[in-house]
C-alpha cells in the first residue's frame, strides 16, 4: 500500500475539520479553520488515530499551518523529514 503523501494528509485534515479542501491549503492557519480551540484537540486525536502516529506538546509547539501538521504526520510515518 502506498504511504500517504503530505497532500493526502492535508486532504484528510480538511475532511476531519469539515472544511473545503480549497480552504485547507498548506499555508492555511489551523486556528482560522476551526470554530474553537477544542476542535483542534478533536482533530489531533482523530488524525493520530487515523495514521496510527503519536505526537505531543513539544511536537506541536511550533505548528501553525495545515502544511506544518501534514509534514509532522508525514514525518511520523517515516516517509519524510521532520518539520
Amino acid at each position: 500500500m502506498t504511504p500517504p503523501t503530505p497532500d493526502d494528509i492535508r486532504r484528510r485534515i480538511a475532511a476531519i475539520l469539515d472544511v473545503a479542501e480549497e480552504r485547507a491549503t498548506p499555508e492555511a492557519d489551523l486556528a482560522d479553520l476551526v470554530a474553537d480551540s477544542f476542535r483542534l484537540v478533536e482533530m489531533a486525536i482523530e488524525i493520530q488515530d487515523d495514521y496510527d502516529v503519536m505526537f505531543g506538546q513539544q511536537d506541536v509547539a511550533r505548528l501553525r499551518t495545515v502544511g506544518d501538521l501534514a509534514a509532522l504526520v508525514h514525518s511520523r510515518l517515516g516517509a519524510g523529514s521532520s518539520p
Binding site: 480551540s37 477544542f38 483542534l40 484537540v41 478533536e42 486525536i45 505526537f55 505531543g56
Partner: protein, 191 residues
C-alpha cells in the same frame, strides 16, 4: 432552608463545571475509536450531564435559580495546562481533575449545618466520581506500554502542577465566596 448568595454561587459554579465536563467528554466521545475507552468515556460524559441536572434540581429545591456564570473551572484549567493533544494527555488531565473534584466535594460535604439536599447531591455525585477515577486510572495504565511509563508520569506531574496553581488562583479570586469552604485548609495541598 434557603441558600446564601455565596452558597448559590458555589453550587452554580459546580453546575457550570459539570456542564463543561459533559461537553468536553461528549466531544471526545464523538471522535474516539470504538473500544473500551470510548465505552467508558461515553458513560463519563453521561454522568457529568446528569450531575449538572442534580445541581440544577438541588438549587431549585432550595428555592433558588442557578446563576449564569461566564466561566467554569475547566476553562482556567485548560488555559494553565495546555490543551491535551492525544488520548493519554486527555486521560491524565481527567485523572488529576477528577481527584480535585472529589477533594472539593469531600470538603463541602464535611461542612457543618449542610442542607440535606446538598449533602444528598454530593453523595450521589461522589459515587460516580469514584468510578471515574478508577476507569481513568486503569485506562492510563493500559497506555503506559504505548507512551512509556516515564512519559505518562511526567504528564501527570505537569497537570498536577497546573491544578495546584489553578486551584490556588481560584480560591484567591473567589476568596469571599469560597471562604466558607476553604477556611483552615491548605490551599496548595495536592489533590
Amino acid at each position: 432552608m434557603s441558600l446564601s448568595d455565596d452558597e448559590l454561587f458555589v453550587l452554580s459554579y459546580y453546575r457550570s463545571s459539570e456542564i463543561n465536563g459533559s461537553l468536553f467528554f461528549g466531544r471526545l466521545a464523538r471522535v474516539l475509536k470504538p473500544g473500551p475507552v470510548q465505552h467508558d468515556l461515553t458513560k463519563h460524559f453521561a454522568d457529568e450531564a446528569q450531575h449538572a441536572w442534580y445541581w440544577t434540581r438541588c438549587i431549585d429545591e432550595l428555592g433558588s435559580r442557578p446563576l449564569k456564570l461566564a466561566e467554569a473551572y475547566q476553562d482556567r484549567y485548560l488555559e494553565a495546562a495546555g490543551l491535551p493533544l492525544n488520548l493519554m494527555e486527555v486521560l491524565a488531565i481527567t485523572l488529576v481533575f477528577e481527584r480535585r473534584v472529589i477533594n472539593q466535594y469531600a470538603k463541602h460535604l464535611a461542612l457543618p449545618g449542610l442542607a440535606p439536599q446538598i449533602g444528598a447531591t454530593i453523595g450521589r455525585i461522589m459515587e460516580d466520581e469514584r468510578w471515574h477515577v478508577q476507569w481513568v486510572r486503569d485506562a492510563l495504565a493500559g497506555l503506559e506500554e504505548r507512551f512509556g511509563k516515564d512519559h505518562v508520569d511526567a504528564t501527570l506531574r505537569r497537570y498536577r502542577e497546573a491544578d495546584r496553581e489553578v486551584y490556588a488562583d481560584t480560591l484567591a479570586e473567589y476568596e469571599q465566596r469560597l471562604g466558607f469552604l476553604s477556611s483552615g485548609l491548605d490551599h496548595r495541598s495536592a489533590p
